[in-house]
């Protein structure tokens, strides 16, 4: 009995030590960015414990004078538009895929998954040539089109899962009562799947917001998004670390509330496949 309890305590202690180590791993970079963003430029290469008071708000002020805020706005516009379009087109399609009697549903699910998983380099090469020849390089329209390859499969796939959880009887009953399909969709199915729809929109927005690759290749200075614009703080001979830290925070802050809303859904969207 005594032996057992000692073993129990040792195991507890080991578990606690492991969790603390992992917590340091998870939290250190976040704390570091916060410190870096407040560091006075003269003290940036000194360890924080040597000059703990060399802190300033200047870095935040400085970034408002740069091109970065405009890039943030570009990110909002392109991510917002591509999410809106994907929702308009993808939500009805998800509903139909969940409820219609169709052969080839497996193919549809495979294609949607594949589009979600395919390496973007394959899409971007032909798009780049197409855009270069049609003047779509460095336009909102071009970037929004490109983001549709990311957002549309995501929205359609998620909404398919969400609508599948709405009981068929609900829809059938409405149709029996002489409601049109459009009515059944707008008045019954959509309200029932609303949490899923909100989450799908959030996830689509995040995918577009986080994109670096498409924007790197098909935007120039006019429509640069924030993830690409951060790279401007790295020049050939020096790196503006303080601005990079501030920009990283600015890139993350707007999506924190979205992430908080969506994280439960990230699990749900996969749990259809994980239930096992």
């Amino acid at each position: 009995m005594i032996d057992n309890s000692r073993q129990f305590h040792n195991r507890r202690r080991f578990g606690l030590a492991m969790m603390i180590t992992l917590l340091v791993f998870a939290a250190l970079p976040t704390v570091w960015v916060l410190v870096l963003s407040f560091r006075a430029p003269v003290a940036i290469f000194e360890p924080i414990w040597e000059s703990p008071t060399a802190l300033t708000l200047q870095n935040f002020y400085k970034i408002t004078r740069s091109d970065f805020p405009a890039a943030l706005l570009n990110s909002f516009i392109t991510a917002g538009l591509s999410t809106t379009f994907a929702m308009l087109v993808g939500v009805p399609a998800g509903f139909a895929l969940a409820k219609a009697r169709l052969s080839g549903k497996f193919i549809a699910s495979w294609v949607l998954l594949l589009l979600r998983m395919a390496p973007p380099v394959g899409f971007v090469i032909p798009l780049f040539l197409l855009y270069a020849n049609s003047g779509l390089i460095d336009t909102y329209l071009g970037l929004v089109f490109a983001y549709m390859t990311l957002t549309l499969p995501l929205v359609t796939w998620s909404m398919w899962n969400s609508f599948a959880q709405v009981p068929d009887e609900l829809i059938e009953a409405a149709i029996m009562d002489d409601a049109s399909l459009a009515k059944a969709f707008f008045l019954i199915a959509l309200p029932a799947a609303r949490p899923g729809a909100v989450a799908a929109a959030i996830l689509a927005f995040l995918v577009a917001w986080n994109d670096f690759f498409y924007a790197l290749i098909i935007t120039r200075s006019g429509t640069t998004t924030a993830p690409v614009a951060v790279m401007n703080f790295i020049s050939y001979d020096s790196v503006d670390w303080a601005s990079i830290a501030v920009a990283s925070i600015a890139l993350t802050l707007p999506i924190l509330p979205l992430m908080a809303l969506a994280n439960r859904y990230i699990v749900q969207s996969l749990s259809g496949a994980v239930k096992g």
Binding site: M19, L22, F25, A26, P29, T30, W32, V33, I44, F45, P47, V89, P92, A93, A96, L97, A100, W110, V111, L113, L114, R116, M117, A118, P119, V121, G122, F123, I125, P126, L129, L130, F145, M148, T149, P153, T156, A164, L181, W209, F212, L216, I217, P227, V230, M231, W241, I244, A245, S248, L251, I255, M259, N263, I266, V267, L270, S271, G272, G276
Partner: protein, 298 residues
């Protein structure tokens, strides 16, 4: 057939037609936004298109033949495999450990979950830049901390395995919470009665874990591994920001190599051929995932 049945059949037909109509916009959109670029990728992969020289309209398998003899491509596949295997393994392990650990934490400390979730919210470019700063010896607080004890932390980004390690660390930092979330959900689905029953039957904790918990977690672990593995084939921002593929070519993963060939060496056709190879890999894996998904949902 009675009149009523006929009427119902007509209604069903109309209903199914309605469903199909709802899919039309999405089908059109997929055709425009996905099929057109993909067709372009395949067409280019058989061409000789060069960004500067243009094309002589010669079509054939020459790009694929070139791939077979390309040592840099082989190297990129090794790099991709190393990044994927190490990264996914670390993410699944750390994600599981944190999920199991958090399960034991109750009460007000549960708020601490947020600290583990936060890295998942940071966009990849920011992740890459943050870790670039942590791996820059003149700047990094890690180096400064160990300097106090007279220990010099080696510069990671200047050696091959150091650079691979650095990218794996950054990738793991931002993606282990994904594994953690899925495994936490799966753990919640496991009834504690099962583990208790095993304990009463005299099974040790390790045996309980291996024979009861692990098999029940297996579907979740498989799904997480597959999803993370597919994503890891797309590695780009971290390589681009942290190492640019270097030192030398030691972190040039295949996806990045396709980018280099296309946009730096102007070999568009060859870049497209590499993209086709990656696409076919994604097609295989996603087929498997779709099959798995179909088995559990139907």
């Amino acid at each position: 057939m009675t009149a009523q049945a006929q009427l119902r059949k007509g209604a069903t037909y109309q209903l199914q037609r309605g469903y199909r109509l709802m899919m039309v916009p999405a089908l059109l959109a997929v055709a425009i936004f996905a099929i057109v670029p993909l067709a372009g990728m395949f067409a280019l992969s058989f061409s000789d298109y060069h960004l500067i020289r243009g094309t002589n309209w010669e079509f054939g398998f020459h790009n694929f033949a070139k791939m077979l003899a390309d040592k840099r491509l082989m190297n990129s596949i090794y790099v991709m495999a190393a990044l994927s295997v190490l990264g996914v393994a670390a993410q699944v392990l750390i994600g599981s450990a944190v999920a199991v650990g958090l399960q034991k934490i109750t009460g007000r400390w549960r708020v601490g979950r947020i600290l583990f979730l936060l890295p998942y919210a940071v966009p990849h470019v920011a992740v890459a830049l943050i870790w670039l700063s942590l791996f820059t010896p003149t700047l990094s607080p890690i180096n400064a901390f160990f300097d106090v004890f007279g220990i010099t932390v080696p510069a990671m980004l200047t050696s091959q395995w150091g650079a691979i390690f650095a990218i794996v660390v950054a990738d793991t930092w931002t993606n282990f919470p994904f594994a953690m979330l899925i495994i936490m959900a799966a753990l919640q689905g496991i009834s504690p009665d099962l583990e208790e029953a095993a304990a009463i039957d005299g099974a040790s904790r390790i045996r309980t874990f291996i024979h009861i918990t692990l098999p029940l977690l297996a579907p979740a672990l498989l799904m997480v591994t597959l999803f993370r593995f597919i994503d890891s084939l797309k590695h780009f921002p971290m390589i681009f920001v942290m190492t640019k593929g270097g030192p030398g070519r030691s972190t040039q993963a295949t996806n990045f190599y396709a980018y280099v060939q296309t946009f730096q060496s102007s070999n568009v056709a060859y870049g497209a051929a590499i993209a086709v190879m990656l696409f076919l890999m994604a097609a295989l894996i996603s087929f498997y995932v779709a099959k798995l998904n179909q088995r559990v949902t139907s």
